[in-house]
Symmetry: C2
Subunit: 122 residues, 2 copies
C-alpha cells in the first residue's frame, strides 16, 4: 500500500492567494519527506483534482487521502468535491480514495486560528 | 482604549458552513472572556462587516482589530475587505480599525494545517 496526499483548495485569480497552500505543502514535505503530496484546485488555478489524482496514481500511490483545504464545508466540499472524487474512483478502481474532513473543522486547526486571531502565535 | 475583535469570513448558502467559524468565536470567548468579539460575513450570511463593526462601536470599542478568516488573500481580502473597512472608518472616525493578515497566512495556522493534513492532531 503506497499512501499519497491530495490537498484540495478553492483557487483564485490572484496568484498570491496560493501562498499559504504552497506553504502547507512545503511544511508537509519537511515533516514527511518520502510522502507523495499534490495540491489541486477547484477553479482558476491548476492542476484540477482529477489531474493531480492521476499524477499520484502514476507515481505509484494506491491509497490516497483527500484533504479539503477549506475552512467551512459548504457546497464546494459537500457537492463539488464528491463529484470530482467519483471521477477519480471510476478512473482508478485499483486505488482507495479516502475523503477527510475539511481542514477548518479539525479541532487543532480551530484552536490555532482562535489563538492567532487573539494575536497569540502559539 | 477598549479593544474589540471583528472576524470576517466569506459566508455560504449552507448554514453548516459556518460551524468552524462559530467554534473559533467560542474558543476566543473561552480564552478572553471579557473581549468583545463579532463574526461578520461577505455574503450569504449575516451580519455584514459594517453591521458587526457598528455593533462593536455601540458596545464601546474604539480599537478594533479586523481578522480575515480566509486561508488565502485574494480579491475578497485585498479588495472587498478594504472597501468595507473604509466605510467603517468613515462612519466611526473616533475608532481605530486595524487590519490583520489573513488567518491562513499566520505561521502557526499553516503549521497546524500541515499537521492536520498529515493526520497528526498536535
Amino acid at each position: 500500500m503506497t499512501r499519497g496526499l491530495l490537498l484540495f483548495a478553492h483557487g483564485a485569480r490572484d496568484p498570491r492567494w496560493a501562498l499559504p497552500f504552497e506553504a502547507i505543502v512545503q511544511r508537509i514535505a519537511a515533516r514527511a519527506p518520502g510522502l507523495p503530496v499534490r495540491l489541486a484546485f477547484l477553479e482558476f488555478m491548476a492542476p484540477t483534482l482529477p489531474e493531480a489524482g492521476d499524477a499520484l496514481v502514476a507515481q505509484g500511490c494506491d491509497e490516497i487521502e483527500v484533504v479539503p483545504l477549506f475552512l467551512g464545508a459548504g457546497g464546494h466540499v459537500r457537492k463539488d468535491l464528491p463529484e470530482l472524487l467519483a471521477r477519480l474512483r471510476q478512473a482508478h478502481p485499483g486505488s482507495t480514495w479516502l475523503l477527510r474532513p475539511a481542514i477548518g473543522e479539525v479541532d487543532s486547526v480551530v484552536d490555532a486560528m482562535a489563538r492567532a486571531a487573539l494575536g497569540h502565535s502559539n
